[in-house]
């Protein structure tokens, strides 16, 4: 080994030993008004959830066992803003309310919501959905009527399927008129679990 190689290696190794505690960029970015989207992941009885919020409120909840993390994030970058950072503390309140809900201690969410990822029709359908009380269920036809689309139970189903904030906007409370469970963004098993939780018959493992 010649002298030069030795020095090159020494520089590389010494460089690798510089293991900084990186400064808190999300805090500085938010203070400068440049954090358009904050996100985090959190464990739940329904698997890992990705939560994202803007200055206006919660904008997205995704079941990560059911969707690819990178795809969800890229879609948020495209549709909201690429100025996004992992910033768990900015989602503390959302995480707390979700944990309380899964514990059976919370029946309604008090989180501000940012509805920009919903089309007008989807907004109307999901607003109708949001009025279904905890522990109750409704039908695709009923929310379609409420949204001003009397014959549009299929369209309502599509709108519910595109719900960007499952759990918080309770699309799991919408079933087929004949009693069939219908569909769910996070898979039917999750829909059943949520309905059981709200029926008070089961407690979810934490």
């Amino acid at each position: 080994m010649n002298e030069t190689d030795d020095l090159e290696r020494r520089l590389a190794r010494a460089g690798a030993r510089l293991m900084p505690e990186l400064p808190d960029l999300p805090a500085a970015a938010a203070a400068a008004g440049m954090l358009d989207l904050a996100y985090t992941t959190t464990d739940s009885p329904l698997g890992t959830l990705l939560l994202a919020s803007t200055d206006h409120g919660l904008v997205r909840i995704a079941y990560l066992d059911f969707a690819d993390r990178d795809e969800v994030l890229q879609s948020l970058a495209d549709r909201v803003s690429p100025r996004m950072l992992e910033a768990p503390r900015r989602l503390d309140e959302s995480r707390r309310e979700l944990a309380d809900y899964f514990d059976g201690r919370r029946r309604e969410f008090d989180l501000p919501l940012d509805r920009r990822l919903m089309s007008d029709f989807t907004q109307r359908v999901l607003s109708a959905t949001a009025t279904i009380p905890y522990g109750s269920v409704s039908t695709y036809g009923a929310v379609a009527r409420e949204a001003g689309s009397p014959r549009g139970s299929r369209a309502a189903g599509n709108a519910l399927g595109s719900n960007p904030m499952p759990i918080v906007i309770p699309c799991h409370r919408v079933l087929h008129a004949g009693g069939g469970i219908g569909g769910y963004t996070g898979g039917l098993e999750r829909k059943r679990t949520l309905l059981e939780l709200e029926s008070g018959r089961s407690r979810l493992p934490v």
């Binding site: 002298e3 030069t4 020095l7 090159e8 020494r10 520089l11 590389a12 010494a14 460089g15 030993r17 510089l18 293991m19 900084p20 990186l22 400064p23 960029l25 500085a28 970015a29 400068a32 440049m34 954090l35 996100y39 994030l73 890229q74 948020l76 970058a77 495209d78 803003s81 690429p82 100025r83 996004m84 950072l85 992992e86």
Partner: protein, 156 residues
């Protein structure tokens, strides 16, 4: 144009930018420079026209921040004394690193920039040339001169 989430830039290059800055402006000012670098990047990000080489883009900003910083301070980079100790290195290693960084700090600006890009963050000569706005030949020469000086300094 589809820009990746900004966090992926930070995950991919945050630590390397910090290493580069620590070697170029010292551990005390590295925090500020690092923060300024990433805030500048975040500000410009949505209107970025060419996302084909985001690493080079971020390092260009970091390089500019380091130069501005040294100019404002009106003197050379200070040694990286405490950095190795903070990282929990053995005392003799920390001492050796301290010697190395203080020699790096005394290099002329272009040599220091080139040699730290080359060996701390593994940039190619083409990347160094691009970032410093010089020829590849000049980048090689700067790295070569830096190594020569360092060897002389450290063997004294």
């Amino acid at each position: 144009m589809a820009l990746p989430p900004f966090q992926t830039l930070l995950d991919g290059h945050g630590r390397d930018v910090y290493r580069f800055l620590t070697a170029n402006v010292g551990p005390v000012d590295a925090d500020d420079c690092w923060q300024e670098t990433w805030l500048s990047a975040l500000r410009a990000y949505p209107s970025l026209k060419d996302a084909s080489n985001l690493r080079a883009w971020v390092f260009t900003i970091a390089h500019r921040k380091a130069i501005d910083h040294l100019r404002a301070r009106g003197r050379r980079a200070i040694p990286v004394a405490e950095a190795a100790e903070l990282a929990g290195a053995a005392p003799e290693t920390a001492l050796a690193d301290e010697q190395l960084w203080s020699s790096v700090a005394q290099l002329p600006d272009k040599q220091r920039t080139a040699v730290t890009l080359r060996f701390l963050v593994d940039s190619s000569y083409a990347e160094i040339a691009d970032l410093m706005g010089s020829s590849e030949e000049a980048a090689r020469r700067n790295v070569h001169e830096a190594l020569k000086r360092l060897r002389k300094e450290l063997n004294r």
